[in-house]
């Protein structure tokens, strides 16, 4: 192998290495800007969705008024009402929980109910037995609305007006 070819290979390889590094950096950069673009398209989608729902114009019970309290529907503490005013609300067996459940299947810090804008979410805090919305165990903050049944241990909670 001749000397100039080897020199060429040497510089070509260094170029490849740096192209890779710069490409990685440019993906990081576009990831930042990309996120912003995605938000804008997201907004456009939202607007479109809002328009569509207006076109349907089907007023529903659920749209009227926001939830103001959490009701314990089933379980040991059934019938208790907790106002949502103090959100985010911690649900668990611990002393610091806003919604204290007397249920052996509930963890000390089990789940949290919080709001973002008009939307209410329930989030599992790494409990042992899990938090269920409907029949599926949630692994991330999940949107809930009036009447969505949240099952925690043997207890079932619901948002009410």
């Amino acid at each position: 192998m001749s000397e100039p070819t080897l020199v060429l290979i040497r510089f070509a390889y260094l170029a490849i290495l740096w192209i890779f590094v710069l490409a990685a950096i440019s993906v990081i950069r576009s990831d930042m800007f990309g996120a912003r673009v995605a938000r804008e398209t997201g907004r456009r989608d939202e607007r479109r969705a809002a328009k569509a729902s207006k076109a349907r114009s089907k007023p529903s019970k659920a749209r009227r008024g926001d939830p103001t309290q959490v009701v314990i529907v089933e379980g040991g503490n059934s019938g208790e009402l907790v106002p949502l005013a103090g959100a985010p609300l911690l649900i668990g067996r611990g002393n610091d929980a806003a919604i204290r459940l007397d249920d052996d299947y509930v963890s000390t810090r089990h789940a949290r109910i919080a709001s973002s804008g008009d939307q209410w979410y329930v989030e599992d805090l790494g409990s042992t037995n899990g938090t269920y919305v409907g029949s599926s165990r949630i692994t991330q903050p999940t949107a809930i609305s009036l009447g969505t049944r949240i099952r925690i241990g043997k207890t079932i909670l619901e948002l009410r007006r």
Binding site: V21, V27, D31, A143, G147
Partner: protein
């Protein structure tokens, strides 16, 4: 933050292809530089690398669709480059003495095991917060793993450090796995007790000292692991664990005083070590006076000569003489790369490490739960400290201590542990970047049977 991350799996694939060009290109350049022809096994080697990388990519697509798109390509490029360099040193070693065994095939096997574990972690660990349940189990297992090499029969001393276990034909460094487990244990403990650690307690000088009952368990866990490491003469790992603990304590309590206290403690401990242990004295003397007449720093000096010979753009792959440095395929792989790729190449490699750490810390920043934040910080810090200690050691910035260069240097346990670290980081970043789920349609009749997505 109403900020939606995109999946970016296409960008990941593009970067992966580039990273394969880096890895396979290095392998081809080594063949061209050493023998003057493209190596005959380039196709099998390249295919195997491609299969591993594509396998990992598909696993991410299936199980962590929103995970960070840059981590896997960075790691794949480093691993491919490391394999090529180990192969290159193998060629030189075997040319000098045909009886020697080659390291590259076993390294490729360990990489395969690492990728399999990576995929397993992504498939079995759906939610990283489940790990918080194993706080104390992880701590206990980490300490047991660290004790293993001290047991007679399976433990073995190699190059002065008793950190290896041998089971039949397999040898393993359990400390590498203990590293990951300790991050989980520290994070799980600190996330529960951070408030108590930060607020309850007395103020001494500049630091709010926490109460003994808050700090006690974790302090004991840490002292035991540190003691074992010192007993095993494994300086690099003890430095790593010390720094890891300190940074995690600082991050969780938001008290910069810890860094001050830790720094003072470290200085005192290092000076005490220097006065009492000959092992440390040798390292420090080699660092201060490597070129002295009676210097013990042959390895360090060889590495520096190599890097100096490499200069700005290197000798070219396959055309240096990295095999003249002892252990050039493992601890000293960075000077070997510096010799053949020059400063230009080494800066690129250090930049890749920097980007890996940056992605880890970014994951910690955008993560929504405290446990995930702490685990991601811990893993990124492990990575950063390890690279700093190794690169600083071989470039004579700090005294030389034995630690592996992540993903580059030959050594199965380290490679496997690092693939697991990357899998955990990707799991956390998938969780952090995933947009909030679609709203349940308020019009829908909630009492009726619904189709429920199980994913």
């Amino acid at each position: 933050m109403e900020f939606v991350h995109r999946r970016r799996r296409g960008a990941e694939l593009f970067l992966l292809i580039l990273s394969l060009v880096v890895g396979i290109g290095a392998y081809a350049a080594v063949g061209l530089g050493v023998d003057g022809e493209v190596p005959t096994d380039l196709v099998t080697h390249g295919l195997w690398l491609t299969v591993l990388v594509v396998g990992a990519h598909v696993a991410i697509r299936l199980r962590a669709a929103y995970a960070d798109p840059i981590l896997l390509p960075l790691v794949a490029a480093l691993n491919g480059l490391g394999l090529a360099m180990i192969h290159r040193i193998d060629l030189a070693r075997i040319a000098a003495n045909p009886d020697r065994s080659s390291f590259a095939p076993s390294q490729l096997m360990w990489m395969t095991i690492g990728v399999v574990l990576f995929v397993t972690v992504l498939f079995t660990l759906r939610d990283h917060r489940r790990l918080q349940a194993f706080t104390y189990t992880a701590g206990l297992v980490a300490i047991l793993l660290l004790i293993l090499p001290l047991l007679p029969g399976i433990g073995r001393t190699i190059n002065g450090a008793r950190i290896w276990i041998h089971l039949g034909p397999l040898s393993f460094q359990p400390g590498e796995i203990a590293k990951v487990l300790l991050v989980i244990a520290f994070a799980g403990y600190l996330v529960l007790h951070r408030d108590a650690l930060a607020l309850a307690g007395r103020r001494v000088l500049f630091v709010d000292l926490p109460r003994g009952r808050d700090l006690g368990p974790i302090l004991a866990m840490w002292l035991v692991s540190l003691g074992i490491l010192v007993f095993q003469n494994d300086l690099g790992s003890s430095l790593l664990f010390f720094g890891l603990f300190l940074v995690m304590l600082y991050v969780s309590t938001e008290r910069p005083g810890w860094l001050l206290v830790g720094g003072v403690l470290f200085g005192a401990g290092a000076y005490f070590g220097y006065l009492t242990t000959s092992h440390v004295q040798v390292r420090v003397d080699g660092w201060l006076h490597p070129f002295a007449q009676d210097s013990n720093a042959y390895q360090l000096v060889q590495g520096m000569y190599g890097m100096a010979w490499g200069g700005l753009t290197g000798r070219g792959l396959g055309q240096g003489a990295p095999q003249t440095t002892p252990i050039s395929w493992s601890d000293f792989i960075l000077p070997s790369l510096g010799e053949e790729l020059g400063l230009t190449g080494v800066v690129a490699i250090i930049l890749i490490y920097g980007l890996i750490v940056e992605r880890g810390l970014r994951t910690a920043l955008i993560c929504r739960d405290d446990f995930g934040k702490l685990v991601a910080t811990g893993l990124a810090v492990v990575f950063a400290l390890q690279v700093f200690v190794v690169v600083g050691g071989v470039t004579k910035l700090i005294p030389l201590t034995g630690l592996t260069t992540p993903f580059l240097s030959q050594g199965g346990s380290s490679l496997v542990a690092n693939w697991v670290i990357i899998a955990l980081l990707l799991r956390i970043s998938d969780h952090a970047r995933r947009p909030p789920p679609e709203f349940l349609d308020p019009d829908a009749d909630v009492d009726a049977t619904q189709v429920v997505s199980l994913r």
